[in-house]
């Protein structure tokens, strides 16, 4: 019934996925050096920028037995920015974040003269750029790692490292390579996670819109009929006497009322597809009735009988438009499953702190081995007609949005049965 539109939606989502993949992040090779001694600052610059020619010979690391030979930096150099004061460093990082060109890491001299020290500086930097890695460099054992950890906090403990002065060229270069690589790996992971979440969100919107499209086809037919009636009454009324004209106008007014009601319901359904709507006290039967009305045309033309087995008047705290979505999806599934004339039974009653809906069709039912799978995303028996998100969306709306339960089973006599339990009052209200 909705194959064309569902396919179209699926295609659109795929196109968007490609676009998302194309936006892979550019490698960040930016390094900030905060060092108040100009000589040392200069040597950082030449080591990291790739021009090893002018490197001032460094003293050997106190811990390393390796010879302090200049290292040829064959790799493409880093983009190094050197500042001498803590305040200037703060400004530089802020500006870099604002420009969308953040630093991957910084080398921070711990003792920076008056004002703040390197550790306090990093603590402040992390307030607006928590992703930037810091390597503290100091000649004095005035700060042990535990005191730094305490100052910067547990959550930041993987965002900094420590290096003793005097350092070797190799130590600086390797630290820079590793840390920059780590920043880029994490950034890429973050970008992928964001892209995946976005793709998921769009896919879900797409699927919700697919049910809107299915309803739209019926709504289009109803509007065609209503407009035929309005045009006809106007034309025929114009030719008739005063009484006929008055009757025509009355009929037209009634037709516009019907059209407005259909439009209102439809707008509400579409609204529910775009965002998670707010919960409020509603009659439990109202979203079900509305879904049946929205699907009225399809139900009628496929010759399906709707039987209300039981309907208690209960109020629940729920999102009306989200539940309409659930019932529309279930009805679409049932119509597909029966593939022609048939029957849908529904009942609604209160059970303790829950309201329970049962919706049963008289189709072939669901093969036992597939019962657990039908509410999984991308499961479909409709081939290319469906994206296989219909019932998974239902489950999500019922179980995550409403903290209820969504169960799919086979009726002992015939057909499939969906059981929806929604708490009368939700926990978060």
């Amino acid at each position: 019934m909705s194959s064309n539109n569902q396919q179209a939606t699926a295609l659109k989502v795929e196109e968007r996925d490609e676009k998302l993949e194309a936006q892979a992040p550019v490698e960040n090779r930016r390094i900030l050096v905060v060092e108040d001694e100009p000589e040392i600052a200069k040597s950082y610059e030449s080591i990291l920028s790739g021009g090893a020619d002018n490197v001032i010979p460094m003293r050997r690391s106190s811990r390393s037995q390796a010879p302090a030979e200049p290292v040829q930096n064959n790799v493409q150099g880093f983009e190094v920015v050197v500042v001498h004061q803590a305040i200037k460093a703060l400004e530089t990082v802020k500006q870099a974040v604002a420009d969308g060109k953040p630093f991957a890491m910084g080398f921070f001299d711990v003792l920076l003269g008056p004002g703040m020290d390197g550790i306090e500086l990093v603590r402040q930097i992390h307030e607006f750029d928590p992703n930037m890695f810091a390597v503290f460099v100091t000649a004095y054992n005035d700060r042990n790692v535990d005191s730094i950890r305490k100052l910067l906090g547990e959550s930041m403990s993987d965002k900094w490292d420590y290096l003793n002065k005097p350092f070797s060229e190799g130590e600086i270069l390797q630290k820079a390579r590793n840390t920059v690589a780590l920043w880029n790996l994490r950034n890429e992971k973050q970008a992928q996670d964001t892209a995946l979440a976005e793709a998921n969100r769009r896919l879900h919107i797409g699927e919700r819109m697919a049910s809107v499209a299915a309803v739209a086809r019926g709504v289009g037919h109803e509007f065609g009929n209503i407009l035929t009636q309005i045009i006809g009454q106007a034309e025929l009324g114009r030719m008739g006497n005063e009484q006929r004209m008055k009757q025509a106008l009355d009929t037209i007014l009634k037709a516009t009322e019907t059209a407005s009601a259909i439009l209102e319901r439809f707008k509400d359904l579409a609204k529910g597809s775009e965002s998670v709507s707010k919960k409020k006290m509603i009659w439990a039967h109202s979203p079900l009735i509305e879904a049946l009305e929205l699907m009225g045309h399809q139900i009628k033309t496929t010759d399906i009988k709707i039987v209300r087995v039981k309907s208690e008047r209960v109020q629940i705290m729920a999102s009306h438009s989200s539940l309409v979505q659930v019932f529309v999806n279930i009805i679409i599934n049932s119509i597909h499953a029966m593939g022609g004339p048939g029957q849908i039974d529904f009942s609604l009653f209160k059970d303790g702190d829950f309201v329970e809906y049962h919706i049963r069709d008289y189709g072939p039912g669901i093969p036992e081995e597939l019962l657990g799978k039908v509410t999984q995303a991308f499961f479909t028996t409709k081939g290319d007609k469906g994206t296989g998100l219909g019932l998974s969306i239902c489950k999500e709306i019922v179980e995550i949005e409403h903290r209820g339960q969504f169960t799919v089973k086979n009726h002992p006599m015939k057909g499939a049965e969906m059981v929806i339990r929604i708490p009368v009052m939700s926990e978060d209200d």
Binding site: N4, G224, T228, I231, G232, E235, L236, T301, D303
Partner: protein, 147 residues
């Protein structure tokens, strides 16, 4: 029994069968037809009821004006049944569809079964009149009464 297929002299002689599940649309179409000058109008609320009428060998039917989407037997099935019928196969058939995404597919299906004309809802009386008169081979300049 059917006189369909020939050119009709007068609109008063033509028997038209209107098939639509929407009672309001049905009443509008019937009123239009009367204003065009039709005297013999039959009504069926779906394809099943239409077939029942067509199965009566004594019932004259020259033209069918049928909705496409209907419960029980839809317009497509009705058209197929008419075209395969031993005596009704040349009855003029005018299909009425709703404007929606599958309209083209439906029109293509109907063309394969030699539909005589189709009209898309909503429509003006004048368009309906033109289509009917063309299908029946009647004088287009016949006195206009609607549109």
């Amino acid at each position: 029994m059917s006189e369909a297929g020939g050119i009709f002299e007068k609109i008063e002689d033509v028997t038209v069968l209107v098939v639509d599940d929407d009672a309001m649309v049905m009443s509008i179409v019937v009123e239009y037809l009367k204003s065009f000058g039709f005297k013999h109008i039959l009504e069926a609320k779906d394809g099943k009821a239409a077939i029942k009428i067509l199965q009566d060998p004594h019932q004259r039917v020259d033209m069918i004006l049928s909705d496409w989407e209907m419960p029980n037997v839809d317009g497509h099935t009705l058209l197929k049944a008419v075209r395969n019928h031993p005596t009704r196969s040349s009855v003029k058939f005018l299909m009425v569809t709703s404007q929606n995404s599958r309209e083209r597919t439906k029109i293509a299906q109907a063309r394969q079964l030699n539909v005589d004309a189709y009209i898309v809802k909503p429509f003006r009386g004048e368009i309906l009149r033109e289509k009917i008169f063309k299908v029946l081979g009647l004088d287009k300049d016949a006195p206009k009464q609607a549109g």
